[in-house]
Symmetry: C2
Subunit: 261 residues, 2 copies
């Protein structure tokens, strides 16, 4: 049996009792943190809470050796894989479940908080007012994706907010977490290039910093103002809102220092 | 201090360790279950896990007496409010936090799994392929909302999936949970009325039944087929997908008995 266990947003304390129960009753416990980052998590403390050894897997352990490392064991034993956020958001995990199914391995999923629902919720924004979301990737020399720009444009036209996930790269050389200011600069650069009048320095944006952490921060305001302010440490999620419902605006005034400018 | 604690999707075991810690260190612990339903939750067992008395609040306790019941206490003591799903999805809770802020009460939020992210994730569908979501309300004699229909239409046009939240009414007389079959019939009736060619009995739909429960069920297929099948007990979430990515389709074939028809 293979159990995918979501660990939530911030630290080892965000695991659910059900997740803990499933992990404790497993024969093997693996964890991977290259698809997403939990800034407050410490592997030793996680092992202490579960009361068992947890083996940390790299990208290649799962993507190339997943068959050998995980599935071979799951044919005969109970194997848990601990992952950041909710359990199934990443393509890697969908792949793994499909491979497990092919080998007739029973699978189980333990859900947890995901930035996908936590960010709008922490910002007091109504989920049915969100259109399609998009990601902002670290610009490469030969590739500069216009998707975030065209997504914001299409959503704004329909009066919908856009959630923008910022790039995360966990590499041996270190972890790159895109800062919201870098993301805002990218959006302004895309406007410079496309000139379709979607974004300018007066556009209102919302930055969710370290959802689930004690040092959680929520900031809203014009891009110009946000670029000058302390937005807190990443991971960041960026929201470009369309028109506010009055309660959304009231919430951001109260909790995100949104001011009438 | 006021702490909003999300309890997750299904039972008292879905609380996080952080949620448990916050609840245990509170002077007063309240819970409300009228904005959303956790089918496996038992209040006695929840009290046993927390090791403390939990007082169940009604809609009027919060919406009319919130000031007196919750906020007066939160001015001098630590008060926790336990809620289904994630902590801040419902308007009621946004209101409560705003009132707390006005009274200069410190607030804290403990996130948890929300159906908003769990449903796409359990269905193996990619979150950036979802457009705006909508709710299907129990039809009233004088009001039959066309919003779910127009939302599906707009999303389909852009190749985006639509998540449809089905009505929940927790009343003294009992709990009404809209069944996915009722929701599908409503969509077909809306097509009958609007005749814009959005939905017919051959349209593919996905039903997520009891996310987070041991008896969790995932079914995908034509509306015609789904109307004849056992979809599991509610709570249900309905997804009307647009075009599938090949991996989404593969996932639904493997886990939701989607067949080539």
């Amino acid at each position: 049996m293979l159990v995918l266990i979501g660990l939530g947003l911030y630290s080892e304390k965000d695991i659910t009792l059900m997740g803990l129960e499933e992990a404790r009753s497993s024969d093997y416990i693996f964890a991977e943190f290259y698809t997403s980052v939990m800034p407050g998590l410490n592997l030793d403390r996680l092992e202490k809470i579960i009361g068992r050894k947890v083996r940390l897997l790299s990208r290649s352990d799962i993507e190339e050796e997943g068959e050998k490392v995980i599935l071979e064991r799951a044919k005969k034993s109970k194997v848990s894989l601990l992952v950041a956020g909710d359990a199934l958001i990443s393509t890697t995990h969908v792949h793994l479940l499909l491979d497990a199914r092919e080998s007739e391995i029973e699978v189980r999923v333990v859900n947890n908080a995901s930035i996908y629902s936590a960010a709008p919720s922490l910002a007091g924004l109504q989920n049915y007012k969100f259109g399609r979301s998009a990601s902002i990737a670290r610009p490469e020399e030969r590739f500069f994706s216009e998707t975030p720009y065209t997504t914001v444009k299409a959503n704004m036209k329909m009066g919908l907010h856009t959630m923008l996930f910022l790039d995360i790269k966990v590499e041996k050389s270190g972890t790159y977490l895109m800062h919201a200011k870098e993301a805002l600069e990218i959006l302004l650069k895309l406007e410079d290039r496309k000139k379709e009048g979607v974004i300018n320095t007066e556009t209102i944006a919302v930055v969710v910093s370290r959802a689930g952490a004690p040092e959680f921060k929520l900031k809203a305001g014009s891009i110009r103002k946000l670029l000058e302010e302390d937005l807190g440490r990443p991971p960041h999620t960026l929201i470009i809102p369309a028109e506010f419902h009055f309660m959304e605006e009231e919430f951001l005034r109260a909790f995100a220092s949104l001011s009438e400018e």
